[in-house]
C-alpha cells in the first residue's frame, strides 16, 4: 500500500485479544449454542480458537466477591470463574503462541506471592504472560481477605505504584546478591526472588484505568491500556491522543503504550443482516428479568415484581446515589436524573420497561459484514484511534468462530493482520520494547 499523507499510520496492523468471560449481562447463557461457562474445555476451545486466529492475547478477568444487588447475590448473569493464573497455566500447556493475561488486583494480593506466580506462568508459557493491573479499595471485597477493607480510596494509585515497583524489583532481582527490598506508604517488604528472568524479560503490564489518575498510572507504568473506548471512532481517537500525550509526558516514546479497547463484534453476511443480529443479541442480553434488575439498580429497590412489558414505575427512586457495589455500571450516578430521562423517553416513544432498557443499552462495538467491519478496524488503527481490539464474545465458546473464520481473513487481505506468528513471546506479538525497568538499567550502564 502506498504511503498516503492523510493516513498517519499507513502500515499499522490490527492486534486482537479476547476477553473471557464477559461480566454483567454480556454473555448470553440461554442460547442453545451456549456451552458450560465453567468447564476447562470451554476455556481451551476459546483460547485455541483465538490462537488459530493469530490473536495476540487471551484475557481472564477477576472478581473476588460474587456480585450482589439489594443485599442478595445477583442471580441473572453468568457467575463463577476460575482463579486466573491457575487457569492460564493450564491453558499454557495446550497453546503455543497466544499471550495469557491475568487480571489481578493490588489490594488483596501480596507482591511477593503475585510476582512469583506471574513469573512462574511466564516461565512455563515461554514468555507469554501478562498482568492486567487493577485497583480496588472496596471494603466489601475485603471481607474475603486477611487485611479486610484496609486501603483508603485516596491511596489506591499510591498502592498500585508501590506494588508494581515491588513486583518489577522482584522480577528483576533474580540474580542479585542481596534480597529485594521495597518500601513505601503501603508496603515494606524484603524478598528473595525464586524465578529466573524469562524469554520476554518479564511479564507484560496491562492496565485498565480510565480516570485521569488511571490514565497517568498507565502512562507511567503500563505497556498496554485496556480501555473502554471501543465503539465510537472520535471518542477513541480523543482517548488515544490524550493517553499518548500522557505517555510522552512520562518520558516515554508515544508508541510505548499500546491501546486495546474492549469491544464486541456482531458479524453477518450483509450489513443489514448484521444489524438484525445485533438487535437480537441485545434482546437476548436484556432478558425480562435483567431489564427489571437494571431498572432496580437505578431505583435502588427490588422491582422484580413489575411487569417488564408494562410502564416504568410512577414513583421516584428511593436512593440519592447509586451505591458502590456491586457490579453496577452506573455506580456513583444520580438516579433521579436518570429516572426522569428514562420516563421522558418511554413516554415519548411509547416504550415498555424492557423496550426502554434495551433502547438505553449503549450501542457497543462493531456491527456489519466482515468486509465492512474490517474496513472500519483498519481505519481505526491507521488513524491512531487504537492499536487493536479486545473482544468480548457474547456467545461462549463458539463466539469467536466467525471472527477467526471471516474477519481475520478480511483483515489479512487488507494487509493489516499477520498471516503467521513471527515471534514466540507476547512482547513480540505486541511489538513492545524491553520492559521499562530493563531499559533504565541498560541506559545507566552506558
Amino acid at each position: 500500500m502506498p504511503d498516503t499523507p492523510d493516513v498517519p499510520r499507513p502500515h499499522a496492523h490490527v492486534h486482537l485479544g479476547v476477553f473471557f468471560q464477559g461480566v454483567n449481562h454480556t454473555t448470553i447463557w440461554s442460547d442453545p449454542a451456549s456451552g458450560s461457562q465453567t468447564d476447562f474445555e470451554t476455556f481451551r476451545r476459546v483460547a485455541q480458537t483465538a490462537e488459530r486466529g493469530l490473536f495476540d492475547a487471551f484475557f481472564l478477568g477477576e472478581g473476588l466477591r460474587l456480585r450482589e444487588q439489594n443485599g442478595r447475590l445477583h442471580d441473572l448473569d453468568v457467575v463463577g470463574r476460575p482463579d486466573a493464573i491457575t487457569q492460564l497455566a493450564a491453558l499454557a500447556a495446550v497453546t503455543t503462541h497466544i499471550g495469557l493475561v491475568a487480571t489481578q488486583n493490588v489490594t488483596y494480593n501480596d507482591p511477593a506471592d503475585l510476582a512469583r506466580r506471574l513469573a512462574s506462568l511466564d516461565v512455563l508459557s515461554g514468555g507469554r504472560a501478562a498482568w492486567n493491573i487493577v485497583t480496588t479499595d472496596n471494603a466489601w471485597t475485603g471481607e474475603n481477605f486477611r487485611r479486610g477493607g484496609w486501603l483508603d480510596h485516596s491511596q489506591r494509585y499510591t498502592r498500585a505504584a508501590e506494588f508494581v515497583r515491588a513486583v518489577q524489583a522482584i522480577w528483576d532481582g533474580w540474580d542479585a546478591p542481596e534480597p529485594v527490598r521495597a518500601t513505601g506508604g503501603t508496603l515494606d517488604i524484603e524478598v528473595t526472588p525464586t524465578v529466573p528472568r524469562t524469554a520476554q524479560g518479564h511479564p507484560v503490564l496491562f492496565q485498565a484505568g480510565d480516570s485521569p489518575d488511571g490514565r497517568d498510572f498507565a502512562a507511567g507504568h503500563a505497556e498496554v491500556i485496556f480501555s473502554a473506548h471501543g465503539t465510537d471512532f472520535d471518542d477513541a481517537l480523543a482517548f488515544a491522543t490524550d493517553v499518548r500525550a500522557r505517555t510522552v509526558a512520562a518520558g516515554r516514546p508515544e508508541d510505548d503504550l499500546k491501546i486495546l479497547p474492549g469491544t464486541q463484534f456482531v458479524l453477518a453476511a450483509t450489513d443489514a443482516e448484521a444489524r438484525d443480529k445485533a438487535r437480537w443479541v441485545k434482546e437476548q442480553q436484556v432478558t425480562p428479568a435483567t431489564a427489571l434488575s437494571l431498572l432496580g439498580q437505578v431505583w435502588g429497590e427490588d422491582l422484580s415484581h413489575y411487569d417488564p412489558d408494562g410502564p416504568l414505575p410512577a414513583h421516584d427512586p428511593v436512593i440519592e446515589v447509586i451505591g458502590e457495589t456491586r457490579g453496577s455500571p452506573r455506580r456513583g450516578k444520580r438516579p433521579h436524573e436518570i429516572a426522569q430521562a428514562w420516563r421522558a423517553r418511554a413516554e415519548a416513544e411509547h416504550l415498555t420497561i424492557r423496550q426502554l432498557v434495551i433502547a438505553q443499552e449503549r450501542e457497543r462495538g462493531f456491527v456489519g459484514s466482515p468486509s465492512t467491519v474490517a474496513d472500519e478496524l483498519v481505519r481505526w488503527v491507521r488513524h491512531g484511534a487504537s492499536d487493536g481490539f479486545n473482544i468480548t464474545p457474547w456467545l461462549v465458546p463458539s463466539g469467536l468462530d466467525d471472527v477467526v473464520d471471516l474477519l481475520v481473513p478480511a483483515l489479512q487481505e487488507r494487509g493489516a493482520y499477520r498471516t503467521a506468528y513471527t515471534g514466540t513471546t507476547l512482547r513480540e506479538h505486541l511489538g513492545l520494547r524491553a520492559p521499562l525497568t530493563h531499559r533504565v538499567a541498560a541506559a545507566a550502564q552506558v
Binding site: 476447562f40 463463577g80 497455566a89 493450564a90 500447556a93 501480596d110 512469583r116 474475603n144
Partner: protein, 375 residues
C-alpha cells in the same frame, strides 16, 4: 477404615530431587531445570508408570540449603493438568502464607482443569522470612497449628459454598444460578493479635492475626467437590485430612486414630543406579550438601520392591522422595513400578477417574445438601 492390600504410590517431583544437594549434582542449567519440558517429562513418566499422585514441594522463600530457583507449585500442577489424564496433582500450599480465599480458588481451579485430579498438600512448619516478604504477621510455632486448622476449615467451607447444581440456567425466570444453592461461609478465625494491615507491623513474630472470610467462593464447586487434602500427621487435625503423611510406619496407627481416612508413609530413596550403589551416591550427595541430611533408604530396585510389598496392609500408600530425579526416577519407572504391577500390589488409575476415585475415597456430599436431607 481397614487397610487394603493395595499400595498407592506417590512421588515427590520438586526440583532436581529430594536430597538437598541434588541440584548441585544435576547437570542442568537453571532454566532447563525449571522449564516446562522437564516438568512435563517427569510427570508423564510418573503417570505412565502408574503412580497414583505426584506432590510438588514449595516455599515462598528459598530454603537455606536448596537451590534458589523454584516455580509456584499450584502453577506447575495446573500446567501439567491438561497434559495428563490419570495421575493426581498435589501442590504444596502453605496455609499461613497464601491468602485462604486465594488457596480455595486456586485449588478449585486446579481441580476443574484436571477434571478432578487435584489435591492440596498442606504446608507445615514455620516459614522464616515470610513475615518480611508479606509485610504482615505470619503464625508460627504452636499458633501455626491453630492457624492451619482454621485455614483448612475455611478452605473446605468455601469448596462447599456452591452446591453442585447451583447453576440452573432457567430461561423461564432468567436466573443463571439459584441463589439459595450458594452459601456465605462467614468464617472467623481465632487469634489474639491485630488484624493484618499496616497497624500490625508492631506485632511480635509468630503471633496469629485473626481474619474473617465472607464467601461464597468465586469458583463453582469442583469435580471432586472437596479436593484430596494431604497433610503431615500432627500438623493438621486428622478429621480435616483425607491423607495423613507419616515419617515412619510406627506413626500410622496414631494417625488413623486421629481420624485420617488414609495413611501414607514417606520414604526417601537413593537407588543403585547407573552402575553405582545407592549408598555411594548417597555419601557423595551428603558431602556436597554441607548440612546434615536425614537418612534415606539405599539399595537396589529389587530390594525396594520387597520393602514396598511389605508395606501392604500396614499403610495405604507410600510417597517416594527420590534423591535425584534424573537418576532415581528412571529406575523407579523401569524396574520398581512394573514389579509392583505384576504383583497386583498397586492400583491401575483409569483415565477419567478422579483422584478420590483412584484412592477409593467417596465424593463428599455438599454439607448444605446433607444438612437439608437430615431435617
Amino acid at each position: 477404615m481397614s487397610t487394603s492390600s493395595v499400595l498407592h504410590v506417590g512421588l515427590e517431583v520438586d526440583g532436581a530431587g529430594a536430597h538437598p544437594a541434588a541440584w548441585r549434582a544435576a547437570a542442568r542449567s537453571s532454566s532447563d531445570a525449571l522449564g516446562p519440558a522437564r516438568l512435563r517429562d517427569v510427570v508423564a513418566a510418573a503417570e505412565n508408570a502408574g503412580v497414583t499422585f505426584v506432590t510438588f514441594d514449595d516455599s515462598l522463600v528459598p530454603p537455606a540449603a536448596g537451590p534458589a530457583g523454584r516455580l509456584d507449585a499450584v502453577t506447575r500442577a495446573a500446567y501439567v493438568a491438561p497434559l495428563t489424564s490419570r495421575i493426581g496433582l498435589v501442590p504444596l500450599v502453605h496455609p499461613a502464607v497464601t491468602e485462604p480465599f486465594h488457596v480455595a480458588s486456586q485449588l478449585a481451579a486446579l481441580d476443574h482443569a484436571s477434571l478432578g485430579r487435584g489435591g492440596w498438600f498442606v504446608g507445615a512448619g514455620d516459614v522464616p522470612g515470610a513475615r518480611r516478604a508479606l509485610d504482615r504477621p505470619v503464625a508460627a510455632g504452636a499458633d501455626l497449628l491453630d492457624e492451619t486448622a482454621d485455614v483448612v476449615t475455611v478452605v473446605r467451607d468455601l469448596w462447599d459454598s456452591w452446591e453442585d447444581d447451583a447453576v440452573v440456567r432457567d430461561s423461564a425466570t432468567g436466573r443463571y444460578v439459584d441463589r439459595d444453592r450458594l452459601h456465605y461461609v462467614d468464617f472467623a478465625s481465632g487469634g489474639e493479635g491485630l488484624p493484618a494491615g499496616p497497624s500490625s507491623r508492631g506485632t511480635a513474630d509468630g503471633v496469629r492475626a485473626p481474619f474473617t472470610v465472607k464467601g461464597p467462593s468465586i469458583v463453582p464447586r469442583s469435580p471432586q467437590g472437596q479436593l484430596v487434602v494431604v497433610g503431615r500427621a500432627g500438623t493438621v487435625p486428622g478429621g480435616l485430612l483425607d491423607v495423613a503423611l507419616v515419617a515412619t510406619t510406627d506413626a500410622a496407627a496414631r494417625a488413623r486414630e486421629d481420624g485420617a481416612p488414609l495413611v501414607v508413609v514417606d520414604l526417601a530413596v537413593t537407588l543403585d543406579a547407573a552402575g553405582r550403589l545407592g549408598a555411594d551416591r548417597r555419601a557423595e550427595l551428603d558431602g556436597l550438601a554441607g548440612v546434615p541430611v536425614p537418612a534415606t533408604w539405599t539399595g537396589s530396585a529389587v530390594d525396594l520392591v520387597d520393602v514396598l510389598l511389605g508395606l501392604r496392609g500396614v499403610v495405604d500408600g507410600v510417597r517416594l522422595l527420590p534423591s535425584e530425579l534424573d537418576v532415581d526416577l528412571p529406575v523407579l519407572v523401569r524396574d520398581v513400578l512394573p514389579a509392583l504391577r505384576v504383583a497386583r500390589a498397586v492400583p491401575t488409575p483409569r483415565p477419567g477417574a478422579t483422584l478420590r476415585d483412584t484412592l477409593g475415597l467417596p465424593r463428599p456430599t455438599n454439607r448444605h445438601v446433607a444438612a437439608a436431607a437430615t431435617v
